[in-house]
Symmetry: C2
Subunit: 255 residues, 2 copies
């Protein structure tokens, strides 16, 4: 039975998409059948694998608006154990429409249920908001991973986000587990970063992943080549740290 992990944060630019793409790829390298769902209208997941839009016909938008079966929106990306469902939201009218359709918070849960028998992991890339799409992801998910930068705005946004998770958990998804906080774009040279990391580990104890993702330019360059970082430069610290994260999650699940 596969596990659905929502990768979410109201704060923008903390590495949600980068984590989805590279944790998903790492799971597939470790022979876990993995699906990535792009719930963010920005559509960065498809951009990471360089689909040209002519190849795509369906995505999350069509599943929500035309009720097409989700399997018709699943695309292979050339990696044996990795598939992707793009968001495929054309413009602002569709974005507003998708927001409205997603006010049925259980929609995604029903759509993904049958896929749990086929995939080991289903990762959901969320938009940077507390809107109806993120609430859909939190209702559908078995567990939640929150990427976080060691910077003031990212930490400050946490309180409200954790309150929302508790509310959604109580109302729509009692079995939602917390997978952990993932520290991303970590820069050892900035004194403040190690102070914030220490504070996070002190307040949240083992809710913070051991694995830290360092700031690494290979991670921001890889998507422009249409490849996840493990295929772009397997020896980079970016690729290694996401493989370590996948390993940490798989070991945790075993025990």
């Amino acid at each position: 039975m596969g596990e659905i992990i929502a990768i979410a944060s109201q704060k923008g630019g903390v590495g949600k998409t980068t984590t989805c793409v590279n944790l998903g790829t790492s799971f597939s390298i470790l022979e876990k059948k993995t699906l990535i769902i792009d719930l963010d209208p920005q559509g960065s997941i498809a951009a990471s694998f360089q689909f040209n839009n002519n190849k795509l016909e369906n995505g999350v938008f069509q599943v929500f608006s035309e009720n097409i079966p989700i399997v018709e929106a699943i695309y292979s990306v050339g990696l044996e154990n990795l598939d992707v469902v793009p968001s495929y939201v054309y413009g602002e009218d569709e974005e507003i429409e998708l927001f409205r359709l997603a006010l049925n918070y259980n929609k995604l849960k029903h759509v993904l249920k049958p896929l749990k028998d086929y995939y080991d992991y289903i990762l959901i890339d969320c938009p940077p908001s507390l809107g109806s799409l993120t609430l859909n992801a939190l209702s559908a998910a078995d567990s939640l991973l929150i990427p976080i930068q060691c910077e003031y705005y990212s930490i400050k946004a946490l309180g409200k986000f954790l309150r929302t998770i508790e509310n959604v958990g109580n109302k729509y998804n009692e079995s939602l587990q917390f997978k952990g906080f993932l520290i991303t774009m970590y820069d050892r040279r900035i004194k403040k970063s190690s102070q914030i990391e220490a504070e996070l580990r002190y307040s949240f104890k083992n809710m913070v992943f051991e694995t830290i993702i360092p700031r690494n330019s290979k991670l921001s360059e890889a998507p422009s080549t249409g490849k996840p970082v493990a295929l772009f430069d397997i020896s980079s610290i970016g690729a290694i740290s996401y493989l370590q994260l996948a390993d940490e999650i798989l070991n945790y699940n075993k025990n």
Copy 2:
């Protein structure tokens, strides 16, 4: 007559809030009466000036939901020529409610109109989306400033965003001018960044500001002290570059 500038981008984490806070402060140092409006439910503008929520009673949410006069949501931040309207969105229910209320795209335009006689500049901090709040900002604004990082996801998101601006311009706000692209968090050491910068200046010519905001840790540290960077460390490259940006905008407006 004051100018309303929307600071917007669908991409998250590109420096919208940092630009609002520090461009706003720079305008006020150059003796322009300035107001910052926080249209992002994350509420990072209030967090930048360390309002404790008990001091605040109203914000954008109350203006939209209870129709309180906007002047009752304006707060001073201790700088002579700078005021702030916080977003004051408590949780996910209010965020959904605000999205719905903002489907009247002309709401903010009517609310801000009388303030243009009092302020020289009104800056609107937008959420990272193409939703109803950003459309409200684009209808209300005289001009638009788009912060952009020299990274693939940020550039890739541009096409769709520019299409939306054209649509909103035609439908709701024919007089919307484009102020420019502002390159933020620029890191000269990353080879790819200068390639992307050159490409941006080649494709968009003088639509890209001369001023570039470099990556500077003082900019990310300042908000944790409750001060804009100019008050936190006036000699930092972060403070200087935002003053240069304000100067570039003021000189452009003169000619």
